[in-house]
């Protein structure tokens, strides 16, 4: 081979290369983690907005004494609160005169459901077929009837069913549910399941997941248990995609289906307890959580006396420190500490709390001295490659066993570099949107540091200012090289940088920016107003909505400015605004909500 010198050279060379490569991998890992943090903080900030919207509506309900014109709008928004008897609703939801045409090639259901019905259903969805409206309504009606009879807290025992499988958030990811069934087997009298909420929103097959879960629940009512998640809520659905999905897939009857689902969601049980020892619920607990009180509540009533307790169960997150504080990040529920876990578990003689609600990279995570377990079943939640999903198997010994997976086989074949790249691009795009939305505030903050008015600030000040304005708690210094590409001697031309951010060229800059910031809220309100789901709202409705929202935000907007804006948005010049076009102007079409368009799709399933 070589002499001693060559051997030592080779050794040195190898050492160098290894040192270099490990550094490269570490940088990638850091970027992957940052990307994660970006998605998570933006998601939670969005939820915060959502709760603020709720509070806005609550505020309107309690305090508003509107002038005539606004009174109509508000009662319009709140007409959902009309009280009808269930039997009248059953008549409204009647499916009997909806015929199934011969051309329909999807699954046919008969009631009571049989095993082969449900197997057919799963198979059909696997093959991207859609269930006919008639069967959808029938299935949902039966589910509603069953759910109304269930208690707030399901009590389950392993002596009947031996092993129980627990799944976390699915969020419309049908491929993950199918993967779980493939690996673990479908529900049956021998195979019990608990599905811990958040079945819908974000993913594109939310309705299919619901139909499968309800079908199994009807088939095996003692073996399939569903807990409500914070996304089983019609207002959340307006924002996060489920409403859009249903209206897109069921153009004629979507509205009816959504209305029925609204009722069904409110009747979903709040928790499941196994062997009186393991508590399973979607979000978590607070220091006031008392299962005896919750068991008595009227869970389906919007303003039940235990409303706050229920919100806590669906929205809370654990924290490492002792105590219990309001969850300001999400805007609802609380953060609870290990001492609260201890207290509540002891109060009810429990040994473990299983919850979901938070995406975890490995699909599951323990905390609070292994007394709290988070389980999340939607893999690739933020982006392809972002995380694995997992489910739990629990036997009579009540020791959890985990099975992890990741849908999308090709993910595993991507190199670390490739999967980080895709996800990161996506996260940075979302982050730039956030930055753009706060342009004016950022400008003020930068100018504060630029006391000599040179147009330049240091990167250090850039990082501090951005955090002060956006408050996302992100590692801006770590992210800097991805967001700021042109600097000179460690200084940044901030106006140039801000100019490069925007997606559209705004005319009336600050009004557009504000609208952009509020776009999710706006869309939600628009869709509530658009009661016949036509996708159109009138100028007047647009004007009133914006006026209400801006007064709530304590902003001054002249009627003229609003009208100008409305006219410029009316792309068709027909006096009404197409919501989709409006949102499109902000390039809001989220890739996860792109419904598949089948080329030769004949509408036989409506």
């Amino acid at each position: 081979m070589g002499c001693g010198a060559t051997k030592s050279n080779e050794l040195q060379a190898a050492l160098l290369i290894q040192r270099w490569y490990r550094q490269y991998v570490a940088r990638l890992e850091m970027r992957r983690r940052c990307t994660w943090h970006i998605f998570q903080s933006i998601e939670y900030a969005g939820e915060q907005d959502q709760i603020k919207l709720y509070n806005f509506f609550g505020y309107l309900m309690d305090h508003f004494t509107p002038a005539n014109s606004e009174r109509n709008l508000i009662s319009h928004i709140f007409r959902e609160n009309e009280i009808c008897r269930d039997i009248e609703w059953e008549r409204y939801f009647c499916y009997k005169n909806i015929e199934v045409p011969e051309l329909y090639s999807g699954p046919h259901l008969s009631f009571p459901l049989t095993v082969s019905n449900v197997a057919d259903l799963v198979e059909a969805f696997k093959n991207k077929q859609q269930l006919h409206t008639r069967y959808v309504l029938q299935l949902l009606l039966e589910s509603w009837k069953l759910l109304r009879m269930l208690p707030n807290i399901n009590q389950v025992s392993t002596c009947q069913t031996k092993e129980i499988t627990i799944c976390g958030d699915l969020h419309g990811h049908l491929e993950d549910l199918l993967l779980v069934f493939y690996k673990n087997g479908m529900p049956s009298v021998e195979k019990s399941y608990v599905f811990n909420g958040d079945f819908v929103d974000r993913g594109k097959d939310s309705i299919e997941i619901l139909l499968i879960l309800f079908a199994f629940m009807l088939l095996y009512p003692n073996n399939v248990h569903l807990n409500r998640g914070n996304h089983e809520d019609y207002i959340v659905n307006l924002r996060y995609g489920f409403t859009k999905e249903v209206l897109g897939k069921y153009r004629l009857h979507g509205k009816k289906i959504l209305k029925l689902l609204q009722k069904i969601f409110s009747w979903l049980p709040l928790a499941t307890v196994i062997d009186q020892k393991v508590l399973i619920l979607h979000g978590g607990i607070s220091d006031t959580t008392d299962l005896n009180i919750i068991a008595q509540a009227d869970r389906h009533k919007v303003k039940s006396t235990s409303f706050l307790l229920i919100v806590d169960m669906l929205w809370s997150d654990p924290m490492p420190q002792d105590g219990c504080i309001p969850n300001e990040v999400r805007g609802g529920g609380c953060y609870w500490g290990p001492d609260v876990t201890e207290k509540v578990l002891r109060r009810h003689n429990l040994q473990l709390l299983i919850r979901s609600h938070e995406c975890k990279q490995e699909g599951y995570e323990f905390c609070h001295n292994r007394k709290v377990l988070t389980i999340f079943s939607a893999s690739n939640y933020y982006e392809v490659g972002s995380n694995r999903g997992a489910y739990i198997r629990l036997g009579p010994d009540l020791v959890p066993h985990f099975i992890q997976y990741q849908a999308n086989r090709s993910t595993r074949e991507l190199t670390l570099r490739q999967s980080v790249g895709e996800t990161e691009r996506s996260a940075l795009r979302a982050l730039r949107e956030q930055l753009f939305a706060h342009k004016s505030d950022l400008l003020y903050a930068f100018q504060d540091y630029d006391t000599d008015n040179t147009g330049w600030i240091s990167l250090k000040h850039w990082a501090t200012a951005v955090e002060a304005v956006l408050r996302l708690g992100l590692p801006w210094r770590v992210l800097r090289s991805q967001l700021v590409t042109t600097t000179q001697d460690g200084m940044l031309d901030y106006q140039g940088w801000l100019r490069e951010l925007p997606i559209t060229e705004p005319k009336t800059e600050s009004l557009l920016e504000t609208m952009y910031k509020q776009r999710s809220n706006l869309e939600t309100i628009f869709r509530i107003i658009d009661s016949d789901h036509s996708g159109l709202i009138s100028f007047e409705e647009f004007r009133q909505t914006w006026k209400l929202l801006s007064s709530h935000l304590k902003m001054e907007i002249s009627d003229e400015a609003i009208l100008d804006m409305a006219v410029s948005i009316d792309f068709n010049k027909d006096g009404s605004i197409d919501i989709n076009e409006f949102m499109e102007a902000f390039r809001l079409v989220d890739r996860t909500m792109n419904l598949p368009s089948e080329p030769n799709h004949t509408k036989t399933d409506e």
Partner: protein, 161 residues
């Protein structure tokens, strides 16, 4: 145009950089991270330590009775020192290429997959199976099944995924 910064300001900015990198891995805001992540944190701050140097540093910041976690309190001063003293400097591109050329005995301009694998898993501070597989999948030119190391170095040094 550059600010005339006091030593204090420089150090406080370094502290903030270190804190940010640390917090990315501190999932529960417990002011401590898993010891297995410390290497990633140090490297992400621009340092190129060898495994031996890394272990030395970890030994420095570990608790007397190792808990498997490194506390920020101990990590911060040690890391500040590393950055101030500019320890574990980056490897210049040409030095790196020279290293590859040493392994490329026949001066072909490329390395066969098996060749690189052998060196990486048998020499120096050996890679694990996973590490070498990952490196190969990123480095391998699929059409020719070899590694053009000059291209590789360019690709991975000025990274814009």
């Amino acid at each position: 145009m550059a600010d005339k910064e006091s030593a204090e300001a420089v150090i406080s900015e370094i502290h903030r950089r270190i804190a940010e990198a640390f917090n990315v891995f501190d999932n529960e805001s417990s002011k401590s991270v898993d010891v297995r992540e410390v290497g990633t944190i140090i490297r992400s701050l621009g340092c190129f330590p060898s495994e031996a140097e890394l272990h030395e540093m970890i030994a420095e910041v570990e608790e007397e009775e190792p808990t498997g976690y490194i506390r920020f309190e101990k990590f911060l001063p040690a890391m500040t020192k590393v950055l101030m003293e500019r320890k574990f400097r980056p490897i210049p591109k040409d030095v790196l290429i020279q290293a590859f050329e040493v392994l490329d005995q026949e001066k072909k301009g490329y390395l066969e997959a098996e060749e690189l694998k052998k060196y990486m898993t048998q020499e120096g501070e050996p890679f694990s199976q996973d590490e070498v597989e990952e490196m190969l999948s990123a480095a391998l030119d699929n059409k020719e099944n070899v590694i053009f190391y000059k291209d590789l170095v360019s690709k991975m040094t000025f990274e814009d995924l």
